[in-house]
């Protein structure tokens, strides 16, 4: 990493029909307090909106908070990100994800699932590690 003033850029969002945003607010605030630049969106984002935002804000990590039952919208987001050329962006999911759905998320490229009970420290440490990885990937590919 050569940039002299690297700050992780993180998007904290919710997609789909899930309207509870308390958890994502707390995570956004924790990331900010850990020195990251956080783009935070209200709930009910569409996949194209998230992709456009991630692209324009050049985020390193997307954190998706998900309490709803429809986690399988996440693989659709992963596909859309790849299509937009945003392969370097690391995606993590937070929430209650049933065991049988997890393999599908990981297969689609999700790096990590933060289950209820994960400490905020753990979450921010992991996110900033993923952010560094993503920046390195950006430096290597040039975009």
């Amino acid at each position: 990493m050569t940039a002299k003033d690297f700050r992780p850029r993180v998007l904290v969002t919710k997609i789909g029909l899930d309207g509870h945003d308390r958890g994502s607010r707390i995570v956004a605030a924790a990331c900010r307090d850990a020195g990251m630049e956080v783009v935070y969106t209200p709930p009910w984002q569409s996949i194209p909106a998230v992709v456009k935002l991630a692209l324009e804000e050049d985020v390193d990590v997307i954190g998706i908070s998900s309490l709803a039952t429809d986690h399988l919208i996440v693989p659709k987001l992963m596909a859309a990100l790849r299509e937009a050329g945003l392969d370097r962006v690391r995606v993590v999911v937070g929430g209650i994800v049933p065991d049988n759905e997890q393999p599908q998320l990981f297969q689609s490229g999700v790096r990590q699932i933060f289950h209820p009970g994960t400490t905020l420290d753990e979450i921010t440490t992991q996110i900033s590690t993923y952010a560094s990885e993503a920046r390195l990937a950006a430096a290597e590919t040039g975009v």
Partner: protein, 416 residues
Amino acid sequence: MEVLDLDHAGLVAGVLDGDRRAIARMLTLFDDASPGSREAAGSLAAHAGRALVVGITGVPGAGKSTLVNALLGAWLERGHKVAILAIDPSSPISGGAVLGDRIRMGEHGSHPNAFIRSFSARGELGGLSRATRAAVDCFDAAGFDRVIVETVGAGQSETAITAMADTRVVLCPPGLGDGIQAIKAGILEIADVLAVSKADLPRAGETAHELREMLTLRRANPDQAWKTRVMLVSAPEMKGIAELIEAVEEHGRVNGHGRRLKSPALDIRQGHGTLENSGDADVWRERLSALTERDGLCATLGISVVAGGPGRAEVAMTVDARHMNFNGGCHGGTIFALADAAFGLASNSHGALASGIDAHITFQVGVRPGDRLIARAYEYSRSKRIGVYRTEVLRIEKENKETPVSAFTGTVYIKQ
């Protein structure tokens, strides 16, 4: 100009092509002040000048984000490509920030002709202004013909806003308290358009009236081709938005798009020869002050900038016990340092990096603690590679009379 490394040359080409990913990445490089980003900014600036860049500033809660959204919608509807740079303050403790959420909540962000990006104000004003200016030029070069920069007014210097926007809109919420606050922050002075927000609220008309009165009291500037306008806007009702757009576009037509390009960026090495065009004394003073603030010796000795211009600089200091030699007189090195500071600023004022290769000095009169000294440097000759500068050091006497203290001559080698 320095040679770009391969990646950045590729990125610059991508930006010029309008590739959104390249634009986004370039903006991050500016924001991080990454190696090579200044050179990239320079190449992009050479392609800038078509866009109309509007700076929107105002106290927190003035209604900036709401207005930016309204402008975005109106400009998109008229077929423009619109880029927005939203600058959010970062937390003074962690340095982190939550960015741009208000504009994002608006309805126009997903439009394919809109590009919304947030930067966090990371404390250092010079750095932010540099990154912002580079970002604006990047959008311009990429083909966005309307660029909006949203900043919190307080603390932004006049130079910073002038250097990043062609047209400056200051947004004042209704109510006297806030109005006075805006004026204290000095942002009234820089407005091309003063917009009173929330025109639907009862005291908006009154505030507009007060602002008009204040403008008439302001010292007149005879060179001004543009008279500051006061307007009322109500963003949720879209009232006054078309009129505001008309005023902003007219200002752009009168002054020409790309006015900002003629004002010096805060970093002297980014000037790209545009400095010569600026006659603004305040701009020069601020610009050179920004350099001395980074100069350890100037800070140690208490040297400050009085004035500057292309090839010129004037600096001052008050002599105290720290500056004395063992005989109780002012140390020759102190006077040399003062003369050298003026020399350094004058010789670097053109934007190219100039390194001193020779300097000498005479000492005419003694200097005591409490004396006020100034050093004035001017360009004696300058070719492509070599510049010669003369500096006079003077002691300020009663009634501002000046006594010559030292004559200094310095030569620089100019790096291309």
